[in-house]
Symmetry: C2
Subunit: 414 residues, 2 copies
């Protein structure tokens, strides 16, 4: 079962790699159109309603139910996002470098698809469409293994995508639904001859399951434990605006801030003000011993509140000693996702950028800018917290590899 599934994807990937960029873009447009057809919308709504009903009966939290809900409006927005992916420049065949060697050889480094990508994610049906569009546009086949709660929705989406592919003249197997079954996933993770990349997006237990078992290269899209460090010289208007945006604008996403660090030298002035602004937006503040006396309405932090991804209107708060104190705290508790400093001192800002280990280091702006669209990559498949191959947002280019093409006229080495 797992081998057949992986082989079907691999065979389809060969066809995709040989197709032109325009053929792949047209297929993505055809998918977007198919998802808007009234017959399909009705079918998907029924499948999704059944998923939501089962999840409710199983006592799932409202946050999960909200991510799971996928009605006509969300479907239309997702189809629109797919159209935007279709309009992005084709990464395949892009010449990254070209040189002529002293012996006359012309050496090019060009982008090529990876082959087959296994996506593993939780109960967000829009990821099914986003991943299919990005993989197809970059010439890759994909195996889509979403969460069990979204099973019917994902199966319906993959069926719709497959039909649209067939009508476009590309293989329906280029996007394959993988039933949510742990044994099947375990088997697929051994198919390193047929699958080129595995991208897990989700919580710790899912990521650990995949990382421990996979023989396929894995790029983890993992926790965002993002900090905002307010340096002693920070402009407090700027600091307040950034901290509020980073924490409150969308608390459930990975680039939201989870911890506020305030410099000891300015904490007396800065912390009460920042705390008041956060509390005014309904944020619960869990404070270390030094921060607590300065935070009206704060509660004492527990040990595991630092390094924790709340994904909610909750924030840890600590007072640190200077830039080194901030960097030390982040080295201990950060997740290599996004780290921000607020300062007016350019030298301090540069020292922070050099010294912090994160896929995106930010000066005087919100952590929420670590996003493919905001950083200029176009749509993204997620944000990698692995360093290999792609670190940070993964757009179309990050779903390709480069290879060498060498053109000569009879050159030999001896």
């Amino acid at each position: 079962m797992s081998r057949q599934l992986a082989q079907r994807a691999r065979d389809a990937g060969r066809v995709l790699a040989a197709a032109t960029g325009e053929e792949r873009a047209a297929a993505v447009r055809a998918i977007a159109a198919a998802l808007r057809e009234p017959g399909f919308v009705g079918e998907l709504e029924r499948a999704n309603a059944a998923d939501v009903e089962d999840a409710r009966k199983a006592g799932q939290a409202e946050a999960l139910l909200d991510r799971l809900r996928f009605g006509a409006a969300r479907l239309a927005a997702t189809a629109q996002a797919a159209l935007e992916v279709a309009a992005l420049p084709d990464p395949v065949g892009e010449v990254v470098e070209r040189s002529t060697r002293p012996n006359g050889l012309v050496v090019e480094r060009v982008r090529a698809p990876l082959g087959t990508i296994l996506m593993i994610y939780e109960a967000r049906p829009n990821v099914t469409v986003d991943a299919a569009a990005l993989c197809l546009r970059s010439g890759n086949a994909c195996l889509l293994r979403g969460g069990s709660e979204a099973r019917r929705s994902n199966e319906a989406l993959c069926a719709g995508i497959g039909s649209a592919l067939s009508r476009s003249g590309l293989p329906a197997d280029a996007v394959l639904f993988v039933p949510p079954d742990r044994q099947l996933l375990d088997d697929l993770l051994k198919e390193d001859e047929r699958i080129d990349l595995c991208i897990p997006r989700g919580g710790p237990s899912l990521i650990r399951f995949v990382a421990e078992r996979s023989r396929i290269p894995v790029i983890k899209h993992y926790l965002g434990v993002c900090h905002v460090y307010v340096a002693e010289d920070a402009d407090l208007d700027v600091a307040e605006r950034i901290v509020i945006d980073a924490k409150v604008s969308r608390p459930g996403v990975c680039n939201a801030a989870e911890c506020l660090l305030v410099d000891a030298r300015s904490a007396q002035a800065a912390l009460p003000r920042l705390a008041r602004a956060l509390r005014g937006r309904g944020v619960e503040l869990r404070c270390d011993e030094r921060a607590l006396p300065l935070v009206a309405g704060g509660v004492p932090a527990k040990a595991d509140d630092f390094g924790r991804e709340f994904l909610d209107l909750v924030m840890a708060v600590a007072v640190v000693d200077g830039l080194d104190g901030a960097l030390g705290h982040i080295a201990r508790y950060g997740s290599r996702h996004t780290e921000a400093i607020v300062t007016r001192d350019a030298a301090r800002a540069e020292k922070f950028l050099r010294g912090v280990d994160a896929s995106c280091a930010v000066v005087n702006a919100s952590t929420r800018f670590n996003d493919g669209g905001e950083l200029g990559l176009g749509a993204e498949i997620g944000i990698s917290t692995s360093k290999l191959h792609a670190y940070g947002p993964m757009g179309l280019r990050e779903l390709t590899c480069t290879r060498f093409l060498v053109r000569g006229d009879g050159q030999v080495r001896t």
Copy 2:
């Protein structure tokens, strides 16, 4: 033991990442100088002689003994190679892309070290020095786990490198000797929180051992089963020169050709001539049924001679039907390393380049050009046959990742 070792390397890597490019280059130059000191040369010669003697007693093949031998001349050549690495441009901090977003954010994508690299290789002591120089120059700490036959040589080399590092003011732990012990390796491969990349170079059993057990990302430097396809319209002078260079110039390396494919339409003219040239250089030719009648002195190929890395003066020979026949043969038996075509038809050449899946695809030149130096990357740590992160030769840049630096003046998303 494994955790302590990995932690020591990781801590040293933090210091390396904060050092300047010139400090890292100076350390590599200090290592090159240390390896040429008479006292050290004598010490290494004694260690290497003992390794070679033990290997001989254990009945190791002459090819292994030759790779293992590491006297003053090879040491001097290796030290010279390290000096060349020291002279290469620093990849760390290189700005790969820079843009200003509509909201005024300045977004840079810059190169940073990976962190800690675990190298696993066989009995070539020069790899110890090459890997140390490339890792240090690119800001990475390394754990060097060479073959057991070279144990004394590698331990002596790592001790010499460590002393030179200390004298340069960088941590000696930035280059650590890993005793050749399977249990220790097994444990190290679980240290994915402390080791960022594992590079195995070697035979199938070593690669399989690593790939099945590692939780650390692995870039395989694996078999080179390289083909030369002589198309029907090939200039036979060019074809002969390329085939001889690809097979004979250095048969024991991964970019040497292992299989000759000749088009059926021109086989009557081309094959006897190419075969005569190869046989004249002492190459044993193992032929499929269609090639055998055209090859004087050829022997019938066994089934496993196709897809086999001989690393010797042996070559498989097959007659194929046109470009599609050649591409089909390579898709079945190639190892994604290097594939070459000899043709005078530009359209056929481009179709071959597009259709062949290899880290390096070559038109009218020898397969032996798939090499970091020849392709303009400078020194290399090996040739990756994995697609993720680096595909083909891995130079200094391929030992780095890129991360995003974002500079703003108070931007928020809402």
